[in-house]
Amino acid sequence: MFSEPKILGFCCNWCCYGGADTAGTARMQYPPNVRVLRVMCSGRINPAMVLKAFKEGADGVFVGGCHMGDCHYDAGNYKWNRRAKLIEDLLPEFGIPKKRFRFEWISASEGEKFQKTMEEFTDTIKSLGPLHRSFPKMSNKSPMC
């Protein structure tokens, strides 16, 4: 049996995090598997952070930013978009299916979209099962439990 998957969610302060908040205040239920980590902008996230999340035992990584044109810092999400595509190419080279990584544009008012995205993504990860990396070593003092 697959115990509950661990998903790390990087959410940008101005949009996606607000979207999660909206979902919360409106009591829209979404899977508790996602551990939300607030960042100031999706443009702050670099591929190494996603790689580190997988290394530390995440089964899936989600990144949420503002819709194109809405970035609080003007072009941060455009930069992230280019980086995200790079990550999609990079992960399979290390035996991690592309599907375990997802990014989405969610505004602060889109609580429903946040809820739906989390449900979908959790289902995807559940259907994929836990991430067994063939690389044997895994940190025993995992910060994600």
């Binding site: 190494a48 280019r82 080279e93 290390f94």
Partner: protein, 382 residues
Amino acid sequence: MESQFLLAKAKDDELAVRGECGGAVSALFKYLLDQDLVDGVLTLTRGEDIYDGIPTLVEDSEDIISTCGSLHCAPTMFGDLISKHLSDMRLAVSVKPCDAMAIKELEKRHQINENLIYKVGLNCGGSLMPITAQKMIEVFYDVDPSEVVKEEIDKGKFIIELADGTHKSIEIDELEEKGFGRRINCQRCELKIPRNADLASGNWGAEPGWTFIEVITEKGKKLLDGAKKGGYIEVKTPSEKAIIIRGKIENAMIKLAQKYQEKYLEENYPNIENWDEYWNHCIKCYACRDACSLCYCKECDLEKEFYNDEDGVVPDPLTFQGVRMSHVYFSCINCGQCEDVCPMEIPLAVIFHRMQKKYRDKTGFIPGVSEELPPLFSPEKE
């Protein structure tokens, strides 16, 4: 600028005899030093034997003669030498296509000032690892490698010359089929004529005793005109036929490279299990990073505490090579240095090259050739 072809050779007799193809490149360097247009010339000189090339800074034009001759068995790179140690000097440098690519990428990153350097390109069909070359000469040529006094690659053959003047040659294709010959990354390389330098010179299409030069930039043209006026080189126009022959050689080599790309990056590409085995060998010596032509950061992410594992364990490939890849792979010029220096023989250039090709297909960015930085660094909203 419209490209221009010409044949050149050194007027100085000694340079003409000792240099490759009439010594035109050596003569250009001599001209630059004599006229004080540069402070130094960075080029390879022969070390102990033909398998040993030492990057040397020549500051006296009398010493140029010692740099003459080809060294195919000493794969070195000049890019990081310039950016780390010679960035404030007016330099002329002899560059293989991959050197020119590295220099161009470093120029874009403000590590090298392009106004300070003359890049005299050398056409390159590929280089050999010194160890491979020695083994190959022993096994296939039946010659003691230490007795070889000169080597040359011409018309698809690797030719060696012995002390008594005898030549022996074998088709490179034949050697490569048996796992010898050029370095694997060179076999995959598509840039044979360095059109990212100021001049591109070589023997393809040239008459014996002459160097075929393609003028690429205004700077290169000025250099040639100056050297001609100063009486350092003799110049003539190549025949139509010579230009066609050169084009044919280039095309044939590019086609072959594409075939090898198919072979090494697709058909024979290691699978995930193979890669895990490779990564398991990693001793985290950082040699790949140190040798990388593109890495220049003073503070390297790989040494940051949060990416590090406990001491004494194999580093997790995700946060070691993965992080390194995420920093540079899109700009990888396939120079093969990471693979050459890896003490555990991890085929790093293969994964970097394959990933770069994917990025190139998506974005059209060709490292070392495109004028801009990779689109990843763009501030544009696109």
